[in-house]
């Protein structure tokens, strides 16, 4: 067992510093084109290592589930099962026998299939050929659907034994109400049994089309090689149509407090509201502000107050999760049941003070130094660059996003942060979820 002192910190709290030497920090050179059938491609040439990463991203996340929670994930999971002439065993063997790594996943906005392979010709050819067939000719066999259904049901039940998962599901449901972001990505015990093969096939046909796709390539290929790769992967997909826009997220009209009794030694606390979206005009200001509030690991204000000063929690944090539409702003912690109320009070007070007063100049300078100075760390590996390209491409952010990143951060003032937090965060209308075994998790009255 390996224990780490800090908490696994999300992508956005990678720490960074901002001295003059870094101000010119630029991102990698991104090349962009569109395939004949309409799929957008972003490519960064990285020839140091004889390997290639490729990720094909579709606007096919669980926000597209419609009335059937779990449909997007089910479809995505079945993409690594039988396809073309090969069954699942053969596909797995073809990839692994050449050391290739096949990945897939579906979040709320996006679904993707990814590949990491050596450029050595046999590995590259075999893995790319296989991935092409997976994307273009999935079989969606009934027995495979049945097996996946059982696995997804098991995963839902496993979530029910984790207080953190119980809290998170309740939080999203309350925060997003009727919006498609409300339902759990893995489906529910009610929805999963009803998913039919016809639904899966229809979902695939509608969403896994060229105009709804983004191809991201990072690795030891030249432009021509990358163009050929993108073409192979997606040129057989029908052009299709971009999916329609998601509805906007409604702001909460009143406070919601949700309490769940759970036989755990800790209470899990989540509080928040709809936050911001990718490309939001306040994005950089809110990002930097939250870095100070709860996004910079152990040096954040929340961590200082809840963990360092009072020893109440191992993990306490806040973050904005920007999505296509306003994703959540979440502040969270876990503490022994008897201390849950105290922890919540300290979190609320810290949040309120930050909204009322904004950051001090000292806090602002420290956060800027952290973010700008650590910029090289953000783009230090092919794996990280793939993540950025997928985000930039999917959300239609400008290609100079990384080049201008440190400059945008440098330009922000304390007043801007205070103004944006006052305008955007409304603790009096927060959703608060407490799951645990103490008084704080018991309904009142």
């Amino acid at each position: 067992m390996v224990l780490t002192r800090g908490v696994a910190i999300c992508l956005w709290s990678l720490l960074v510093a901002g001295l003059p030497a870094f101000q010119a920090a630029a991102g990698p050179e991104i090349q962009e084109w569109t395939t004949e059938n309409g799929a957008r491609v972003l490519f960064v040439e990285a020839s140091d290592l004889p390997m290639v990463d490729v990720r094909v991203v579709f606007d096919a996340g669980s926000a597209r589930d419609g009335d059937t929670p779990g449909l997007a994930n089910m479809t995505n999971q079945l993409l690594t099962e039988s396809a073309g002439e090969w069954n699942t065993d053969q596909i797995a063997e073809r990839m692994e026998a050449v050391g290739a790594e096949l990945g897939r996943g579906a979040g709320r906005d996006r679904a993707w299939v990814s590949l990491r392979t050596l450029t050595e010709p046999r590995a590259f050819e075999t893995s790319v050929e296989t991935m092409t067939v997976l994307l273009n000719s999935p079989r969606f066999k009934s027995n495979e659907l049945e097996r996946r259904r059982k696995l997804m049901l098991t995963a839902v039940r496993r979530g029910e034994q984790k207080p953190g998962t119980v809290a998170s599901k309740a939080f999203y449901r309350a925060l997003f109400g009727e919006h498609p972001y409300a339902t759990p990505q893995g489906g529910t015990l009610e929805s999963l049994p009803a998913i039919s093969r016809e639904q899966v096939v229809a979902f695939y046909k509608r969403h896994y089309v060229a105009k709804n796709a983004l191809v991201v390539i990072v690795g030891a290929l030249d432009r021509q090689g990358a163009e050929q790769l993108a073409k192979r992967l997606v040129s057989s997909l029908p052009m299709g149509e971009k999916v329609r826009e998601l509805p906007k997220v409604k702001m909460l009209e009143q406070e919601k407090v949700i309490k769940r009794s759970f036989p755990s030694s800790q209470s899990h606390i989540l509080m928040g509201q709809p936050g911001m979206h990718r490309g939001d005009p306040d994005y950089f200001v809110l990002y930097l502000g939250n870095h100070i509030l709860g996004g910079s690991g152990l040096v954040s204000l929340l961590s200082e107050q809840v963990r360092e000063q009072r020893g109440l929690s191992y993990s306490v944090y806040s973050y904005f999760s920007p999505m296509r539409r306003d994703g959540p702003f979440i502040a969270g912690a876990q503490t022994q049941n008897a201390k849950a109320r105290e922890a919540m009070d300290v979190m609320r007070a810290t949040l309120k003070r930050f909204i009322d007063e904004g950051p001090t100049e000292e806090e602002l300078t420290a956060a800027k130094k952290n973010i700008t100075g650590g910029f090289p760390l953000r783009i230090a590996s092919n794996g990280k660059i793939v993540g950025y390209l997928a985000m930039i491409g999917f959300y239609g952010l400008p290609l100079d996003y990384l080049d201008t990143f440190t400059g945008r951060i440098e330009a922000i003032t304390a007043e801007q942060i205070q103004d944006a937090f006052r305008r955007r965060l409304h603790p009096e209308r927060f959703v608060t979820v407490v799951v645990g075994d103490g008084k704080a998790a018991q309904p009142e009255g």
């Binding site: 290592l49 692994e96 050391g99 995963a155 029910e160 309350a174 407090v257 009794s261 100075g373 760390l377």
Partner: protein, 455 residues
């Protein structure tokens, strides 16, 4: 999912992976070993200080003390008040953390390459000058207890693994959890930490590993400047701990609130550091990858697909620990099957390895994965440093990393069968089963399901 439960297996996948880069090794006069690997792909550097101490060094009554000390290492020295370490690193754009395992305690920073000296200055300072104040300790021990609640008390699979280790080892200190038993945490004092710090934190019990866009001679110069003046210590010699032969299967049941049953079992196995037959640990690594080295490996192919008896099934083994550990197997049953059926199916897979030779195709697949992994691993300076630090700290030579591909490549089907027959015996087996208790508190009480409105 194995990785999450068995943190000790962190390197199972990561180890095969260091390509030949220019690695330089130095020894300072005070005994600090400095290992520098150049990697010029990005203008960054990772610096790690590894101490040869961890949970497996801890005597009864103070389990978890290594990990608590790791937390306290951020709580200040004479020159730097509590929290300043992290603030300085943050202001320099760095990323930092620390981790404790059974065999090591390590601290790291990742920084822009021109900030390396900042890390050296701070690490050298806290290697010898930690304050260890009562006030800071009183708060931090509560944080660690919260960490234990989060990682173990409220996680039925973690509780099950903790019980497995506790009953499997009769003498080896691997019986104790890295985070420590709750009662030991409750009774720990700052004096325990001072004692532990004095015993183990000295340059001659540490390895400094630096990987990144740096000049090794420059690194040496900086290391001498900051770590050079530190005094060495007489480091205690550990008495050898030897596990007595197990003479029959051991079983333990864990009843805890849960929804899904779970089984984990382990066979006592040798490791490289103490192996009498050098190829055996490599054969066990190969064996474990044949069971669980991807979607085409036997467990997923035969039990998750195939028989559809498992919702998940995993195997893990690491040749790289200080003392002999276990080859672990775990899983959850698919709907419609009970935990007993799953255990039988997992054990039948183990039996098969004793009867039939594995195919050349399976060996070839693992070899290809190991070779490719070696390249993929170079995408991260952090994992390169981890590999060097781990091997050094458990008493092996980091150069073994370069031999790994070759040694795995030499494993034959006969050798896999031989180690299966020799070590995967029922008599050497310990089984832990999670028997779910109803989560009877989880019904929403009264209006608790959606308690809207006033607060």
């Amino acid at each position: 999912m194995m990785i999450r439960v068995f943190g000790a297996m962190l390197f199972l996948v990561a180890l095969p992976g260091l390509a030949k880069g220019p690695v330089h090794e130095f020894l300072l006069d005070n005994g600090l070993k400095v290992i520098v690997k150049e990697d010029n792909r990005a203008p960054i550097v990772v610096s790690q200080v590894w101490y040869k101490v961890g949970a497996s060094y801890e005597p009864a009554g103070v389990t978890g003390v290594s990990h608590v000390l790791e937390h306290m290492m951020f709580k200040g020295t004479d020159d730097h008040p509590p929290g300043e370490f992290s603030r300085i690193i943050a202001a320099n754009g760095g990323r930092e953390n620390a981790f404790t395992g059974r065999d090591y305690t390590a601290y790291f920073q990742t920084l822009s390459r021109d900030r390396l000296e900042i890390s050296f200055e701070l690490e050298a300072d806290r290697m010898r000058n930690l304050t260890l104040g009562q006030k800071e300790f009183a708060k931090e021990i509560e944080v660690v207890k919260e960490e234990r609640r989060l990682r173990t008390e409220d996680k039925p699979t973690s509780l099950t693994y903790e019980q497995l280790s506790a009953v499997a080892y009769r003498n080896l200190p691997y019986a104790n959890p890295v985070i420590g038993w709750m009662s030991d945490l409750e009774n720990m004092t700052v004096e325990d930490l001072k004692h532990w710090y004095r015993l183990w934190y000295a340059p001659n019990n540490a390895t400094l590993v630096v990987v990144g866009d740096v000049d090794p001679q420059e690194v040496l110069k900086l290391a001498k400047r900051h770590f050079g003046p530190l005094k060495s210590e007489k480091i205690p010699v550990q008495k050898p701990r030897v596990e007595p032969p197990q003479r029959g299967e051991t079983r333990v049941t864990v009843r805890a609130p849960a929804k899904e049953p779970y089984v984990v079992f382990g066979y006592k196995t040798p490791v490289l550091a103490q192996a009498q037959t050098e190829w055996e640990p490599y054969a066990l690594e190969m064996l474990s990858s044949i069971l669980d080295g991807g979607s085409s490996a036997r467990f997923t192919r035969s039990l998750v697909r195939g028989e559809e008896i498992a919702a998940s099934a995993g195997a893990s083994y690491s040749a790289f620990s200080r003392l002999p550990g276990m080859l672990l197997v775990d899983g959850s049953p698919a709907p419609g099957h009970d935990i007993g059926q799953l255990e039988q199916a997992l054990r039948a897979q183990v039996e098969l390895l004793k009867k039939e030779l594995v195919s050349e195709q399976e060996l070839e697949r693992v070899r290809a994965q190991v070779i490719a992994g070696k390249t993929y691993e170079l995408d991260s300076v952090f994992s390169q440093a981890m590999q060097i630090g781990t091997l050094e700290t458990i008493g092996l030579d980091w150069r073994l990393i370069d031999e790994y591909v070759e040694r795995i490549g030499q494993v034959t089907p006969e050798q896999v069968r031989q180690v299966a027959r020799k070590y995967l015996k029922d008599d050497y087996l310990t089984v832990a089963v999670l028997d779910p208790l109803p989560l009877d508190n989880d019904k929403p009480l009264a209006a608790a399901g959606g308690h809207h409105g006033a607060h």
